[in-house]
Each structure stands twice: as structure tokens, then as C-alpha cells.
């Protein structure tokens, strides 16, 4: 039996000042200390912090990642293993969570960087991060990363963008771990226990319940499209298995910055909605066996191997059912259909989660691939839906390139400050792990 207790500490406010602590639901952040932590990285020159609260007339853009601060209180290892803590296996004991808030990394990595979080207005309905108090950090690249050619129009040297991406990704995780650490000795407002029996125990405990596995597909196509598991770039892995609670301790982190609406930020991995919903049914209607992680590479032989392995693991576990979720557009549709088809052909019933690109008029074919065996599909909605985002009083990050973010089109930033765009510019709007209520028919 693998058991993890999550202790939720509800955060009602974040105050940036000269001391770091969590007290009476308020997170106090010592600006100088966090800044020093971020600037340990030689590739970052400066960082600006800000707080965005639900209901405010604030827009955060471009968003890179969103992370929920957590800390191990009991049990082996530390959060985000292999990234900011040792690779030791996590997923048991006690973990405290700063609930109701998130660390948001913002800033331009590439010129077409995307991701909008509106804290109020119509856009706020589409992003889950309009409901969290956001500790936003905008990181500036070190001079060593800047283009040296005086003629260059690039702020960052093209060759050095991978370093900058890595630096910003790590800065976000470090700060989230630092803030989480402040809650290590705080008594949680609420606790929730998640227990997964091993295969043998599960069979004995629930002999009559259908056994269900969760197949999580991770985005792994290359720079800005990567996901890390215990610090390993997941594109160089075979499909494998995890305890669901490992994910809750941050074993999977996002390095994916492209396609804001359907990328899975680290926050959504930590709070993986499928894992939580399966736990709710565990022992009642189903026996939740565990998580299979598999990747979404560009190389077709990799796709074949990974989907073969995902299906093979389902077969080996002898499960009755599987939930499959994906991340991204186009290329991953092929992995999704391959996985679903192969798993169904093993006699395992599937339900899958995706989103759609059906065009602004909703009339185009939604997915790049299809198969009649994929007969139980949940959709996160049509990413091409057009939305008008009103001007916000405050912008954290920068707006100059909204014209070129995905789904925005020439002239999408109007003179009056409103943005006409597709909901694909909004962070996690059509999340393909089923985090939201948005759907389509």
C-alpha cells in the first residue's frame, strides 16, 4: 500500500516584503531572498515579482509555466525530484500544499511565446488560473545570453535560447519549492489521504471491481515541447509505470511552452484531475491500479514503440479499463489514436480526453487522426473559438507580441487595448487532462 497524505494550507493573500513565512493563511515573501535564489543561475540577470489576484483587472502574459508550491513533510525524497531535489522516489508520507495560489513564470523565450491569464472578464472563465492568487515572476536573461551582433533584432542569442528556457523553468521550480518549504511546519487546514494498493493487495481487496489504469501521454517533441520525469527528458524513455501519488509530489514537470490552451503546466500535473477523479471512485466502482506514462515523439518508430509498450503494460497488468489523456495538437493525435486502438485491441476498454481544432466556424474535422475504436471521447472544447479580451488596467509581462501568439492574428491587439483572439491563447483553456468544464458538441 502506497499512501500519501496531502495537507492543504489555504492561502488567502500574498504579501511581498522583507520576510518569508506562512501565517494565518497569508504567504509573506522576502523579495530579496527569492531574488537571490533566482539569480543563483548565471543565465538570469534580474527578476521581477508581482501578485495577481482573482477579480483584478490584470492580465499575465506570456505565461510559461504554472506551479503549485508543495513540500515533503514526512516520507522519502523531496518535491520535484531530479529537478530541485534528489532523484529519490517520492509519493508516500505527508506533503503540504499551498492551496489557492500558484507560482507563474512569465516572460518571452521565443518571439511568438503565448499564454494569457486574465484575472477577470470573459477570459477569466476559460483559465483555471484566474481562480488562484498568482505569484508572478518575470525573468530577464543574463547579458551572456543576449545577442552580440548590434544589427541583430533578437534580444537573446538564438543559440542560447535553450539555456534561457532551462533557466526560467528551473527558477519557477526553485521558487515554488522555496515557498512550499515555508509551510513545512504549518498545520494544514484540511487533509486528504490517497492510498494505492499494490497489484496483489488490490486484487484481494476489491476482487469484484473492474481494474482501471490511467495512461498519461506526455509532450516530448523537442525544445519547448518537453516534459521531465524525475529529471529525465521523457522523450528518451520507454513507457513505464508510476504510483499516482508520485505525480502529486511533482515527479512530472513541464518544459512545454507551446500551445497555451492544451499544454499541461506543472500545476496540472501536480493536481492531475484524472488521478483525483479515479481516486474518488477507487474502492467504490473501480480499482485504480496505477499510472502508465508514455511519450509523444516526432519519430514515427518511437510512436510505434511507445504505444506498443503502453498497450503491453495494460495487457500485462490485466486491467479492464483505461483512461487516456494527451497533450498538444496534430502529432499527439496520432499517438492518442495509436494508444487507444492498441489498448482496445488488447480487450481493454478506453475513455479518452482530447480537445479540438474545428476552425472558427466549428465545421472542420477536429482531430488529425481518428479510429472507430475511439468511441468514448471527452473533449475540452474547440480551441479555435474566437474571444474578445477587454483591456486590463494592469499587464504583468509584455503585450507587444500578442499579434503573433497562436490564435491571435494580425491586428489582434487593437488600439483600445482589447485583444481579439482564439481561446487557444489562454493558458489551459482546453486542457486535455480534463481539468476544466469547457466542452463542445
Amino acid at each position: 500500500m502506497k499512501t500519501l497524505e496531502l495537507g492543504y494550507i489555504h492561502i488567502n493573500d500574498i504579501i511581498i516584503g522583507s520576510e518569508s513565512k506562512v501565517e494565518n493563511g497569508v504567504l509573506y515573501v522576502d523579495e530579496a531572498a527569492v531574488k537571490a535564489l533566482v539569480l543563483e543561475d548565471e543565465f538570469l540577470k534580474d527578476v521581477h515579482f508581482d501578485v495577481a489576484k482573482p477579480g483584478e483587472s490584470t492580465r499575465i502574459t506570456p505565461v510559461k509555466d504554472v506551479i503549485e508550491p508543495r513540500v515533503k513533510v514526512e516520507g522519502p525524497g523531496g518535491v520535484f525530484p531530479g529537478m530541485v531535489n534528489k532523484v529519490e522516489a517520492v509519493g508516500e508520507g505527508k506533503t503540504n500544499v499551498l492551496k489557492g495560489m500558484a507560482v507563474v513564470t512569465a516572460g518571452k523565450i521565443v518571439g511568438f511565446q503565448e499564454g494569457v491569464i486574465d484575472m477577470s472578464g470573459p477570459g477569466a472563465d476559460y483559465t483555471p488560473f484566474s481562480k488562484t492568487i498568482n505569484f508572478v515572476m518575470v525573468c530577464e536573461p543574463a547579458d551572456s545570453l543576449l545577442a552580440t551582433d548590434p544589427e541583430a533584432t533578437l534580444p537573446i542569442d538564438n543559440e542560447k535560447k535553450p539555456e534561457y528556457e532551462r533557466a526560467v523553468r528551473m527558477a519557477g521550480l526553485k521558487v515554488a519549492a522555496y515557498l512550499g518549504e515555508l509551510a513545512k511546519n504549518v498545520t494544514p487546514d484540511e487533509t486528504e489521504v490517497f492510498s494505492t494498493p499494490n497489484l496483489k493487495e488490490g486484487m484481494e481487496l476489491y476482487p469484484d471491481l473492474p481494474r482501471v489504469v490511467y495512461v498519461a501521454m506526455l509532450q516530448t517533441q523537442g525544445l519547448l515541447h518537453d516534459t521531465y520525469v524525475y529529471g529525465v527528458d521523457a522523450k528518451r524513455t520507454l513507457s513505464t509505470m508510476m504510483w499516482p501519488t508520485e505525480i502529486m509530489d511533482g515527479a512530472i514537470v513541464s518544459g512545454n511552452c507551446v500551445s497555451a490552451c492544451d499544454k499541461n503546466p506543472t500545476y496540472i500535473h501536480e493536481n492531475n484531475p484524472v488521478v483525483h477523479e479515479l481516486f474518488k471512485q477507487h474502492g467504490k466502482t473501480i480499482n485504480f491500479v496505477g499510472v502508465i506514462i508514455t511519450n509523444e515523439n516526432v519519430y514515427l518508430a518511437d510512436k510505434q514503440r511507445s504505444s506498443d509498450w503502453a498497450a503491453k503494460l495494460c495487457e500485462l497488468l490485466g486491467v479492464d479499463g483505461a483512461i487516456v489523456t494527451q497533450e498538444g495538437f496534430g502529432n499527439p493525435d496520432t499517438d492518442l489514436i495509436m494508444n487507444t486502438k492498441k489498448i482496445e485491441l488488447k480487450g481493454v476498454k478506453t475513455a479518452i480526453v482530447t480537445d479540438e481544432y474545428a476552425g472558427q466556424d466549428g465545421k472542420s474535422q477536429s482531430l488529425a487522426d481518428a479510429d472507430p475504436l475511439a468511441d468514448a471521447v471527452v473533449t475540452g472544447g474547440n480551441a479555435n473559438q474566437v474571444i474578445i479580451l477587454p483591456k486590463m488596467d494592469k499587464v504583468i509581462g509584455m503585450l507587444d507580441y500578442v499579434d503573433v501568439i497562436a490564435g491571435g492574428h494580425a491586428g489582434s491587439l487593437r488600439e483600445d487595448g482589447t485583444i481579439e483572439a482564439e481561446i487557444q491563447v489562454i493558458t489551459s483553456a482546453t486542457n486535455e487532462m480534463g481539468f476544466n468544464k469547457l466542452s463542445a458538441r
Binding site: T153, V298, Y299, L300
Partner: protein
């Protein structure tokens, strides 16, 4: 696995042209898909996904696709993948991007080249470790 890269990305041409078989042509995103399709009809096998990357078709003007150097009987899976990709890319829903391409500045273009470069690089890494497909 011996491969050919069909690309309209100057960065792929410049960095890999001397090392691998790179067929560069100055053309649109769609035209790269068509070029790959014609090669598949002649018996080359598709090695990387034609819609690799989360950047949408024509949002980026650049596309690099890897096919087998060897020709054999036409591969049905490759035909279906490239046709689905062409249908998706030319369906009209990404039309807005096509119009926008002319307005992209050098900085953005360089970024799109970089993304495509890293996507195909991950394909090359896979091709070099796996000898058979």
C-alpha cells in the same frame, strides 16, 4: 537508419546540410508536405510526423520532415499520415496564419526556424539510435 530531410528551413540546411542528406527548397509549409507526399508515392517511408510540434501549420512557415533514404514498396501508413496532414494543414482553419506570414519579422522567423530545427533534431537523435523502423 539512412534518412533524407526535406525542409524549407534555412537553419536545418545550414547546420545539417554538410552532415546529412538535406533536400532544401525555398517554398511554403504546404509545399513541403506535397514534396514529401510525392516521395512517399515513389516508395520512401515517412520517418517523422508531418505535423510535429505544437506550432500550428502555417503559423510557422517552416517544416522539416524526415523520410527513409531507401525506396521500397509504397508504405500505406505513410500515405495515410501525409494525406491526413495535408487535409489538416489545407483545411482552411489555419488560413489566417498564411496571411500573417508576410508580417513576421526576422526575430520571429528565427524563432520558428529554431523550433523546427529542434523538432527535427529530436527525430535525428531517434534515427541514429534505432537502426530499423
Amino acid at each position: 537508419m539512412d534518412f533524407i530531410i526535406i525542409t524549407n528551413n534555412p537553419r536545418v540546411r545550414d547546420e545539417y546540410g554538410a552532415k546529412y542528406c538535406v533536400l532544401y527548397q525555398e517554398c511554403s509549409f504546404d509545399e513541403i508536405l506535397y514534396a514529401v507526399r510525392d516521395k512517399i508515392h515513389k516508395g520512401h517511408k515517412l520517418l517523422t510526423h508531418p505535423l510535429s510540434g505544437s506550432v500550428k501549420p502555417n503559423e510557422t512557415p517552416y517544416k522539416s520532415i524526415m523520410i527513409s533514404a531507401e525506396r521500397g514498396a509504397m508504405d500505406n501508413d505513410s500515405v495515410i499520415l501525409i494525406e491526413d496532414a495535408i487535409n489538416m494543414a489545407t483545411s482552411g482553419k489555419f488560413e489566417k496564419y498564411r496571411q500573417r506570414q508576410a508580417t513576421l519579422n526576422q526575430r520571429i522567423l528565427a524563432d520558428f526556424q529554431m523550433i523546427d530545427f529542434f523538432l527535427i533534431t529530436s527525430g535525428i537523435e531517434s534515427a541514429q539510435t534505432g537502426l530499423m523502423v
